[in-house]
Amino acid sequence: MEKDRYNDPLDDYVRKSFEEYEEDPAPDMWDRVEGELEPAGRVFWLFRWPTMATTVVLLLCCGLLGGHFYSEGKMSALTAEQPMRSTGVTRSHPVTPSGHVLSEHAPDRAQSSDTIRSHPGTFPSSPTNAPQLPESFELSGSSARMHGADTSSSSAPVLQNIPQTSRFDNLIPTWVGIKSSDSVRNGAGIKVQIRGDGIVAVEARGNLPTVSPDGNTPLPNQSNNHFTATNTYPAENPVLPNDSLNTSDLRFSQAPVVELKPPDPRIFQLETIQQHPLLPAAPPIQPARTPSSWYVGLHLMPNSTFEKNTAATTGRPRLTFTSEPQNPDFSTDGWLKVGKKISPRFGLESGVGYRATSATATHTAVLQFRDGSPLTPVSRTRNFRYNLDTYSGPASVSLRMEPADNGPVADTELLRVKIMTIEQVQLVRIPLLAVFRVGSGRLQGTLKAGATGNFFLRNQLNISMRTSQTSRFRPSPDSGSYSIQLDQPKQFFAGYWLSGGLEWKWSRHISLVAEPCFSGNFARKDANGRRLPDQVSLGGNVGVNYGF
């Protein structure tokens, strides 16, 4: 850059006058610039910290509730098993198809139960009175008690035609084809494999000649009516043509068969059953329930709220004032709380609370006449804009003032305007508190401390009065001559909670709580780094807890 300046004293004077000279533009200049800028790169909503904090709190609540219901489910399961144990009746006892268990006086009880216990398996998920099936059972000709004569072989047994309700073959699907009147030879038998809630396969071995319908007389041509164990018929496809039953080959299942010793066949004898009549299963005995470590509560907290302001009025980058409440605000918070006792001494408590306040605050705006923008080039009425920091957040105030007389007004002349505002706030509060209990018995002392998340449900500011404190200026009476608007209020802010009091157990489930409480919010700042007014609340938290 070529320097061809003259060494004119005027040039030097002008240059020196403008060196380091700065002048502030209108207070709302940044707002105007910001309005022209492209929207800033917005963080994906999921990663904004209020959203994350809310998510964490909700997940915590869900986790607590889920944990509760899980433990409740386990309790129910244990309760359901209790009757069988308490009555001494095990699932290994012989059970008739009608769901009755044989009396514990049955002679084979010990043997049967021992056998079944050595092969624990899954029983059908059926009602208590439904037939209880072992994993498998076998009935062979050598172990079954047989009745009737076999004309061809003295050892050929024939199953007694005993009443339907006590016959083993009622546990076998009809497609097996073995009827109550079937006769069984020595070495022959059937084996039923049960897995889950159904019969998987039936295995037959040896010759199983059928007998006549009367149950006692074997058919003369037994060889034509025998069937051998060479086939497996899974339960998923339990179809056997009746006509080919006697000549079909039954093949053993490839799946390993858990063999259990059959109950003593004497139990199938009519005499035995008559001597030991079936007894219905005893009704389940419900165990005495003790309260879990969870509780919910309904609490009220009358409180007085105080506001404290630590920020001073600043002129940069824009005139900023802070509103100050006239009186403490009284309100009553409502709380729904849920908590868990981790140990007799320690626990966690959360919940949700609601607070509604309406406070009157004032501030005095001290402005210079030149801070205002004239409505028109010739107008003496000027619009003033400044920031106002409130508990609800930073706000922008627009105020129109005019000279009270026709005298000249210097740019530096001061205006003092007292503004009264009404601040209506509705808050949802979510605490997460650590609880410490002292003492034992019905009366316990509690100490709670933790953090709270606070969400604005409603946040409204209105100007209720404008008063000029100088005689030179007055508020413009025009409509729309003033306005106040919150600047992008933050919907979430964090706070703290400290309380200590007493909890009295009125009954096994219900306890009463009374505790003085002190709460407030952590420091917040506006966009310019100025600290916003803080609120502290002093009140008493009373309520009822229900342990379940």
Binding site: M1, E2, K3, D4, R5, D8, L10, D11, V14, R15, S17, F18, Y21, E22, E23, D24, P25, A26, M29, W30, R32, V33, E34, E36, L37, E38, A40, G41, R316, P317, S373, A527, N528
Partner: protein
């Protein structure tokens, strides 16, 4: 005030942009006032200038003084603003007929620069522009000629006339 965080400004972080604005608004507003016809015009130029600065900040390579680069943006913005107002009638202003006879009073309690801004704003835009570019921005006549699209001779003559009028107004203000 701490140095502005350019990287954050480039990312569009509003807080950093605001800090940037706070750092330079005073100097740039004083610059705008020297070129503009009124305070309102200067505020318009200031607003437009900062928008351009944030928009064109990626073009700043880091070579040279940042303030110098910003100043250049604001000078260009001021000139374009004057051209928009179609008041850059260089030839018509050579006569200096539209120079206000009634100048505003000179306030002794205010800094000299503020009073000089008042005087500058009474000068015709053409005189004011050459005066600013040459004396306060340090541009040579060939550069001014190129920037304004006038001849070098016109630039020189306008500067002489501008200084004469400025001196006259300054003296009249001081004597009053």
């Amino acid at each position: 005030m701490t140095e502005p965080n350019l990287q954050a400004c480039l990312r569009g972080e509003r807080l950093a942009q605001k800090h940037f604005f706070e750092c330079f608004k005073g100097k740039m507003f004083a610059l705008c006032l020297r070129y503009a016809n009124s305070r309102e015009d200067a505020e318009d130029v200031l607003q437009e200038g900062f928008v351009r600065v944030f928009r064109d900040l990626p073009q700043y390579t880091g070579v040279g003084n940042l303030e110098g680069w910003i100043r250049k943006v604001f000078v260009n913005t001021s000139l374009q603003h004057l051209q928009k107002q179609k008041r850059m009638l260089m030839t018509a202003e050579l006569d200096g007929q539209d120079i206000a006879e009634d100048s505003e009073p000179f306030f002794e309690d205010e800094p000299p620069a503020r009073n000089m801004i008042r005087i500058l704003q009474q000068l015709p835009p053409g005189f004011r522009t050459v005066f600013n570019l040459h004396i306060l921005e340090g541009y040579s006549h060939p550069e001014i000629a190129e920037i304004l699209g006038i001849s070098i001779g016109t630039s020189k003559s306008q500067l002489l006339r501008a200084k004469a009028h400025f001196k006259k107004l300054l003296e009249s203000n001081l004597t009053s």
